[in-house]
Amino acid sequence: MLATAAVDTPCFIAALRRVLPAEAVIAEVEALRVYECDALSAYRELPMAVVVPGRVEEVQAVLRLCRAHGVPVVARGAGTGLSGGALPHCRGIVLGLARFNRILSIDADNRTATVEPGVRNLAVSEAAARYGLYYAPDPSSQIACTVGGNVAENAGGVHCLKYGLTVHNVLSVTFLTLDGELCETGGPTLDAPGYDLLALLTGSEGLLGIITSITVKLLPRPAGTQVLLAAFERVEDAGRGVAAVIAAGIIPAGLEMMDALAIRAAEDYAHAGYPLDAAAILLCELDGYPEEIAEQLDRVQGILRAQGAVAVRVAKDEAERRLFWAGRKAAFPAVGRIAPDYYCMDGTIPRRELARVLAEIAALSKKHGLRVANVFHAGDGNLHPLILYDANRPDELQRAEALGSEILELCVAVGGTITGEHGVGVEKLKEMCVQFSAAELSLFHAVKRAFDPEGLLNPGKAIPTPRRCAEFGRMHVHRGALPFPELERF
């Protein structure tokens, strides 16, 4: 990607001020600090400036200016990303989209909502509620994260097992390319002519275009919902329980797992009524008509008991159902209270490997001398090991990163992937070299160039260069042939 020549900062900021209202350009160091990281706070960088435009024409003007001056552009929604996707570029600007926070329309007959990219995820369901509709993808960060950020990361949530990820729930996206051209891909229809640029933009981490509006699919609220909590004495049994439920032809609305460390932290924090002596719990949500739920609850209970569940409780009312979930949803902050720092991983594995991989993670945790709490989307096989560490102790961060890296390589080795929903960002560039060959990475770069020939949209994120992979010394070894033969070995 293009190495940008240094631009004259005061000159460029003056140029920004000519195309934007005064309050939309931030250049003072103290104010810039707010934007120096996303939720992966181990990585920090100050940008040259931050802009927070309020109109599409202003964004267009900013992009044209950046293109003319060769200045990198990092889009930012709410900054809740967990892989450093919105980490500023030291010679670039951060393009904050939080002011694009209007719900443009809700079309109840066609079950769609059209929103600006800065609208918070939860706000969509809140606005749709009076039509009996909701927006299905529900990341745990949904009170804060934006729909634009969700599209850019292809965010998932607790209900994705049954209702799909962001990519399955977005109908169209309007985006700006770096030359300021406004394009729409998809439509208010179920498909659109041409290549599926909508799928390509979803999860593109701000590398291909700036999303300026999104039309999402709305779903009718289910007639009823119930949740069951199953406790296990052994983590492996819980892992097998997950596979057994799916094997029985049941797709729960959500199927989440927590291990002992996570259970205790969540219980202390949210008082959800979790069994403190369990090695693992599963939360299984079922939805549909009441009779249908009752029948499925019976079946799920039977299946989980057969896999070794020692106690199974069905929430006795709506208040208890919410409480069961409150514990799960608060699990990250709860774990945050039991250690000075934690590092959240995000690999996905085939469900059948759950028991084995969890045992292996426990072994790695011992090896690196750091505790790991597990709380994750078990139904999808999407793991979130939380590595506990203390950044103030020498080398703990490095140890946490080394442990994380080994966990992700384990995910790849059992047939999974290094990221299920949090994205690559700056964090998983190294592991990308393990998952993809040089030829695959170079096709990613070619796709990037097709959208952004100058390489100014979020440069250095998501897709490592072959040189970078060689430097990491992590090689995707394909059929015994070393990749990047053109590069010297270190």
Binding site: D109, N110, T112, Y131, G156, C160, L161, G164, V167, T177, E181, L182, C183, T185, G187, P188, T189, L190, D191, P193, G194, D196, L197, A199, L200, S204, P220, P222, A247, G249, G288, Y289, E291, T348, P350, R351, R352, H377, D380, G381, G416, T417, T419, G420, E421, H422, G423, V424, K428, M432, Q435, S437, A439, E440, L443, F444, V447, A450, F451, I463
Partner: protein
């Protein structure tokens, strides 16, 4: 639990590897010589897309299931595998493709189905073929074998090129293997029907879709409405009670006939248009006969009206029209793209296939 891993001693696997070596060789030669390749599986969808000239490259020899793990809800198969074989395999385990793939012929293959991006009557409720694609292994125009996506439900590593290849009509890369998400078969299913015209059926289908009904199909041919419900028996009974007076239809292959275009409606020499619209859009004022599918989101039109008129009428309602079968196929069968998207399409084509040898013209004349 049944798995079908490809092992070293797997004879079909060896035959497939042999077929792959030959394909790679053919593609490299075509690339060097700049020869356009016409890629085909069972060639059952030759009627769809632009007519193209080119040297035939068949992927039919590259077939077989690579792996199938019912508990993972995913099947991985080579592109030349017949859809009917795959569906039989899934049925043995009580599973199915959620997108209810149209075959348009007994030889339909997985590669052709994914490349053409076609989904059947269950699509609005069970997702599209693109929604179900989890990963691919593909052969590029330069003769390289690459992998994107994977076999797990959630994967955001790298750009989503597997879904980009879905519906690209083989113009970006040749699909070799596809991993597809599958679903458990519903434990029961009923079809209800009642006499009804389109003007009445469209709002009704959309009103139902706003509630928590277990819909899995909704069709109207201007004479009658058909709706299918799938799920647990008790849920179907409840839903039926909520839907008012409708008769239970004799199953007898109605949905298969819709999916495969075997209803009497399709026996007609006039051009067949596929019109994609926001589902609640009222009936369009175009001459001809209609079959409304996908609860209103996909509409089939038999008409002699001119292409201009059909496309304009669809576009006015924020939809689009494709000349699906028959008619004048010398021009574009897909609607023209706006300038910005056209430029991106051309640049993407160049990124994948700079010499434009893969199925050139199958989708758009210049891609």
């Amino acid at each position: 639990m049944s798995t079908h891993p490809a092992t070293e001693s797997d004879v079909p696997g060896q035959a497939a590897e042999h077929a792959l070596v030959e394909m790679v060789e053919r593609v490299r030669q075509a690339h060097d010589a700049g020869t356009v390749l016409r890629i085909l599986g069972g060639d059952t969808k030759a009627f769809f897309g632009g007519d193209i000239e080119g040297s035939r490259l068949s992927i039919g020899g590259y077939h077989g299931v690579v792996s199938y793990e019912p508990t993972e809800l995913v099947v991985t198969a080579r592109a030349g595998t017949r859809m009917s074989d795959l569906e039989a395999l899934l049925a043995e385990q009580g599973q199915m493709f959620g997108f209810e793939p149209p075959h348009f012929g007994t030889d339909a293959t997985l590669g052709g189905t994914v490349s053409a991006g076609l989904s059947g009557p269950r699509r609005p409720y069970g997702g599209s073929v693109r929604d179900a694609v989890l990963g691919v292994r593909c052969l590029t125009a330069a003769g390289e074998v690459l992998r994107f996506g994977g076999q797990v439900m959630k994967n955001v590593a790298g750009f989503d090129l597997s879904r980009l290849l879905c519906g690209a009509f083989g113009t970006l890369a040749i699909l070799l293997e596809v991993s597809i998400k599958v679903l458990p078969r519903p434990s029961s299913e009923i079809t209800l029907t009642g006499a009804m015209g389109i003007d009445q059926a469209i709002p009704l289908m959309n009103r139902w879709a706003r509630g928590p009904l277990p819909l899995s199909g909704a069709v109207c041919d201007g004479q009658a409405l058909w709706v299918r419900l799938s799920g647990e028996r008790r849920a179907l009974e409840q839903a039926r009670a909520a839907m008012g007076a409708l008769d239970q239809a004799p199953e007898a292959g109605f949905w298969e006939a819709v999916r495969e275009h075997r209803l009497p409606f399709f026996r007609d020499d006039r051009p067949l248009w596929r019109i994609s619209l926001p589902p609640a859009t009222p009936a369009l004022a175009l001459p001809g006969d209609w079959l409304i599918d996908w609860g209103g989101a996909q509409r089939w039109l038999k008409t002699d009206a001119g292409a201009e008129e059909v496309r304009r009428s669809a576009a006015e309602q924020r939809g689009y029209a494709v000349l699906f079968r028959g008619g004048d196929r010398r021009g574009e069968v897909f609607p023209p793209l706006p300038d910005g998207l056209r430029v991106l399409h051309a640049r993407l084509k160049d990124a994948f296939d700079p010499r434009r040898i893969l199925n050139r013209g199958r989708m758009y004349g210049d891609l």
